[in-house]
Amino acid sequence: MKLIVAIIQPFRLEEVKEALYAADVQLITVSEVLGHGRQGGVTEVYRGNKETGNLLRKIRLEIAVNEEYVDKTIRAIIDGAKTGELGDGKIFVYHLEDCIRIRTEERGPAAIG
């Protein structure tokens, strides 16, 4: 089992979701987060006060999958999120120790899908 965490551009979320659904990955958690990568932060100006290094809005996806879905999921995220510009984001893949479905108390791979 793997936990796939992806940081993407907010405006690519819809495309990523469509690509994931097309790959039959249905279960995702989405949160709004702040941060920046190599494109750096933005400078904002309020009544002449320049505020540099402000963090950018990003979307964080968390998707727990069984092994056979790992590559499909990564492919779907790339297809949905890639524009070729700085700031497209990153995908992290973690080993997932266990998974429990609270409703049924199932454990392990059976609890994921």
């Binding site: 904002e44 100006v45 309020y46 009544r47 002449g48 006060n49 320049k50 505020e51 402000n54």
Partner: protein, 423 residues
């Protein structure tokens, strides 16, 4: 005999001015602070409304507007204590453009009450994010009597010092704007800067623009109501108000565009308020070119002051109460002495049938009176507030503790928060 048409307009105007204090000014200021302090800012405006409303009808109105006086030219007496002797069908002893068609005396009491309400609320912009609520309450009570009421008496009461000299202050350039602005400066200096004053973006500029728009709307009552009649002078003051606000907003946002690369929402909102302030003393005296020039000047001068000069001086007028109200108030009050056009007020028989005339229309002495009142209001407001803050600092203290400031004033002063994270 009360004129019901005029009375209706002045009652509506009083309600419009209330709307400027809550929620307009609260939202304008509240959007600019951190999310952990927004309620404390809203509460300062709301508290002004509550406290001043009560003090005004008990004794404030009498001290400010009684023609019999404790201190000649400066302070009235207790003649109308608890509104004693003012019946519902009594005509107002105060008229501006329609001396034979007065509003109800009680309407004048209410109209003036709303001016007294908004002025300490404007000062609160300099105190944001660090002042104890209890100290703010004490300040607003003492300040009403020590600073506001004498200034209102001097500028507007029948026997007031400046009223008798022929001061042109249509809707409060001295009494409201210079007064709140220079009080804000004194307060900010004694209160000190916010801790960790590193740049944090305003938490909700939607509030700020909404508040500015509501201020613009309410200001029609403030200025066009100040003639105490629903006549052509009200229309003129209304139009000049709208024009000056638009001119100043254009200049501020335009300077942003040129100097900071983008026309900002905050710039447009700040400029509009500066324009509304500058036209306040002038609204019923100037003609269209005067309103336009005052608006352009307010946008440019306040921009330079707030964006360039203030950031170099280093005092922390959190929300620019001084930079906008103080500076534009001075510009407008002095500017009225330049631009007052006799053909605006003459048709209403004002100033003994001659109309009020400024320097550019051949009356240089007007400028002297305007400058003297401006200077007096600056000193009066600054010194009075300075002393009040000094006394409060030595007695009950001004600031929340550094820890409370870090946690936020909403939680530490009011036990509430504006926004929840979950549900």
């Amino acid at each position: 005999m009360i004129n019901n048409a005029n009375n209706a307009w002045v009652l509506l105007s009083a309600a419009l001015i209330l709307f400027m204090t809550v929620p307009a000014l609260g939202l304008f200021y509240g959007g600019l602070v951190k999310r952990k302090n927004v309620l404390s800012v809203l509460m300062q405006s709301f508290a002004s409304l509550i406290v001043v409303s009560l003090l005004w009808v008990i004794v404030g109105y009498s001290l400010a507007f009684s023609p019999t006086e404790l201190i000649p030219g400066v302070l009235g007496d207790f003649r109308w204590f608890f509104l004693n002797g003012i019946g519902p069908n009594d005509p107002s002893p105060y008229t501006v453009s329609a001396p034979h068609a007065p509003v109800a005396h009680l309407s004048f009491v209410l109209f003036q009450c709303m001016f007294a309400v908004i002025t300490p609320a404007v000062v609160s912009g300099a105190l944001a994010e660090r002042m104890k609520f209890s100290s703010f309450l004490a300040f607003s009570v003492i300040w009403l009597f020590v600073v506001y009421i004498p200034l209102a008496h001097m500028a507007w009461s029948q026997n007031g010092l400046f009223a008798k000299m022929g001061l042109m202050d249509y809707a409060g350039g001295t009494v409201v704007e210079i007064n709140s602005g220079f009080s804000a400066l004194a307060a900010a200096l004694l209160l000190g800067r916010r801790t960790n004053l590193k740049p944090v973006p305003p938490h909700n500029l939607t509030f700020t623009l909404t508040g500015a728009a509501m201020l613009w709307f309410g200001w029609f009552g403030f200025n066009a109501g100040s003639g105490l009649a629903a006549d052509g002078l009200a229309s003129s003051a209304f139009l000049m108000t709208n024009t000056a606000a638009a001119a100043a907003a254009l200049v501020w946002a335009g300077l942003d565009w040129i100097l900071q690369k983008k026309p900002t929402i905050l710039g447009a909102a700040s400029g509009a308020v500066a324009g509304l302030v500058v036209i306040t003393p002038a609204a019923g005296f100037v003609s269209l070119p005067g309103a336009l020039l005052l608006g352009f000047a307010a946008g440019a001068v306040c921009y330079v002051f707030v964006v360039v000069i203030k950031n170099k001086l280093g005092y922390d007028d959190s929300l620019d109460a001084f930079g906008v109200h103080g500076i534009a108030g001075v510009l407008g009050t002095v500017g009225t002495g330049l631009f007052a056009a006799p053909f605006i007020t003459k048709p209403f028989g004002m100033n003994n049938g001659n109309g009020f005339t400024g320097l550019f229309f051949g009356n240089p002495s007007a400028l002297g009176v305007q400058a003297l009142a401006t200077f007096t209001a600056m000193i009066w407001a600054f010194a009075g507030t300075f002393v009040i803050f000094l006394v409060l600092k030595k007695t009950m203290g001004l600031r929340v503790t550094p820890k409370e400031e870090a946690i936020g004033l909403d939680i530490t002063q009011h036990n509430e928060r504006a926004y929840t994270v979950i549900e």
